[in-house]
């Protein structure tokens, strides 16, 4: 699936959840389902700035030319958010990730429910993922 197909699928999933509680429960479930990060990346070096809770993010460019993200957080709601963005962006080429427009975040009714610090955390996560993608783009060009 393309990034936008995944986003549309997410919007559809969240639209089935009318109550904020259901949305949060789903978000928390996404957090719980997030595959664990390799412990060697749970260091300050991989911490994302701008989140009130701790969020660690690692990116890897594999031989198939696609970027794979892993992450963790000490707060489950943050973990759900990062899981959401990983689902959208992970497994795509650096170019696709760098150019992706994450319109779904606004439309799944979560951003408006998130406090500013949380929201900034989400923005920081996306920004960090795109930074990785841009870095991998130049790696590929120079290869």
């Amino acid at each position: 699936m393309t990034i936008n197909e995944i986003q549309d699928e997410l919007i559809e999933e969240f639209n089935l959840l009318t109550d904020w509680v259901d949305k949060y429960e789903y978000l928390i479930q996404l957090g719980k389902d997030l595959p664990p990060i390799d412990p060697q990346y749970k260091t300050d070096e991989y911490l994302i700035k701008g989140c009130q809770s701790k969020v660690w993010l690692h990116a890897e460019l594999k031989d198939d030319g696609k970027v794979y993200f892993t992450a963790d957080s000490d707060a489950i709601i943050s973990k759900g958010l990062v899981s959401l963005v990983i689902r959208i962006l992970s497994g795509h080429t650096p170019e696709e990730i760098a150019q992706a427009e994450l319109y779904s975040i606004d439309r799944i009714g979560l951003k408006e429910h998130l406090s500013p610090t949380r929201s900034n955390g989400l923005v920081s996560m996306i920004k960090q993922m795109k930074l990785y993608a841009v870095a991998f783009q130049s790696t590929l060009k120079n290869a």
Binding site: W20, V21, Y24, I28, I77, S115
Partner: protein, 416 residues
């Protein structure tokens, strides 16, 4: 065990539930009726205080002390009337021992600056405790750094009780002040300040009490406890924000140099020499928070009209009931289990982040505080990132605590 049925459903004041006097309590958030459990951060205001603010601006608004005109005299009189009321409220010997500040933080900073300038020398020390708010830590760190003094800390145990026997080693001939909180804002511990003051005074050491959390809950008699300084805030006791109080014994305030320079605090100014005004004005440079001062009186009127003993018993029953109910929640650990507590329950739920709990409670219409509560050393001591803090006021009810517990059950089932 105290059951819900043994506690009044709500505290009654002048024939109606006390919460009826607080309009902000009666609103919906996210479509649910608000439960306000963030009283240690600030209390809601009774209608009489809200009305007093509007009345002040609609009638006697003017600058104080300087004017010869009618309004200015009215405002000055009203402000000085509040000073007398505050003095009576805490049983100060003189009204001029009451200094108006911006809040507890500024009251402590005033003493940290002015008293230290008077009394603190290189090699001296200041003693605080392990459960102080940052506002009763940082001003002393700055003062100690400025004067080459040492900051000493009374340690506490796992229950959140101070280890008072350590005072015998901590206090010595070079100790210039003990600065300690009456009630911990993060743990709810009520400290035995009387015993601490007696120990300090036996060595001739003055004591400052941070009464920010005590003022809305405990009757204060500064002559009975014999503290040298006492700091508290209007907004935590049903009054306006931005107005704080510093009580200081006349003998200290007279000797201390001014904190800030400006208008009102002077007797005469020339470029060669300025002579300072008498107490309390020596410490009140510039135009004060006139509205806040005048309307603080309405808050004190309200507090003094409350039957304080009954209100205190009711609050303690709520605290006990909340503690018992919260302890029923699996894996919930109360941080701070001192024998004497007031108004505050801090807790964590194992394997959850306090912030997750706070965000979900908020969505359920329940206002709590999460984080380190400006007491990072306490969180470090317990090895936790923060707590969820429920802080009570006389207008809270058993039904609200029941809703908190039910909501927490749901939060836990969502998070685990």
């Amino acid at each position: 065990m105290k059951t819900a049925s043994a506690i009044l459903p709500y505290f009654v004041f002048q024939n109606k539930p006390v919460r009826e006097y607080f309009p902000a309590l009666h609103q919906q958030v996210y479509g649910q009726s608000l439960v306000y459990f963030d009283n240690a951060a600030t209390t809601q205001k009774p209608q009489s205080v809200i009305d007093a603010i509007a009345t002040y601006y609609a009638t006697i608004n003017s600058n104080v002390h300087r004017g010869v005109h009618y309004l200015s005299q009215q405002a000055t009189e009203a402000g000085e009337e509040t000073r007398k009321r505050v003095a009576a409220f805490i049983h100060a010997r003189h009204a001029h021992e009451i200094i108006f500040t911006r809040g507890t933080t500024e009251s402590i900073n005033l003493v940290a600056y002015s008293y230290s300038k008077l009394a603190l020398k290189a090699g001296d020390n200041i003693v605080i405790s392990a459960m102080e708010h940052h506002s009763n830590i940082v001003p002393w760190q700055i003062a100690c750094e400025d004067h080459g003094a040492e900051l000493r800390v009374i340690p506490m145990d796992e229950n959140g009780e101070l280890l008072l026997h350590t005072l015998d080693n901590l206090l010595d001939a070079r100790t210039r002040l003990v600065a300690i909180t009456w009630i911990s804002n993060a743990l709810g511990t009520v400290n035995p300040i009387q015993a601490i003051i007696q120990k300090a005074h036996a060595l001739g050491i003055p004591v400052l009490i941070d009464a920010a959390q005590a003022a809305p809950h405990i009757p204060i008699d500064v002559q009975a406890i014999d503290c040298d300084f006492l700091a508290f805030s209007g907004h935590k006791m049903f009054g306006p924000t931005g107005i704080g109080i510093l009580y200081g014994k006349e003998e200290w305030l007279d000797r201390m140099p001014p904190y800030q320079g400006g208008g009102e605090m002077i007797k005469s100014v020339s470029f060669e020499k300025t002579t300072y005004n008498d107490l309390p004005f020596k410490f009140e440079a510039g135009t004060p928070h006139i509205e806040g001062i005048i309307c603080l009186k309405a808050a004190i009127d309200f507090l003094e009209a409350l039957p304080l003993t009954e209100a205190h018993i009711y609050e303690q029953q709520l605290l006990q009931y909340a503690t018992e109910q919260l302890q029923q929640i699996p894996d919930l650990r109360i941080i701070g289990q001192a024998k004497k507590k007031s108004g505050v329950i801090s807790f964590i739920i194992e394997d959850t982040h306090p912030y997750d709990v706070g965000v979900l409670l908020d969505k359920m219409g329940i206002a709590v505080r999460t984080g380190h509560h400006c007491t990072q050393p306490i969180m470090d001591f317990f090895g936790i990132p923060g707590t969820v803090r429920v802080s009570l006021a006389v207008y809270n009810t058993v039904a609200e605590i029941d809703r908190l517990v039910q909501s927490l059950d749901r939060v836990v089932s969502m998070l685990k």
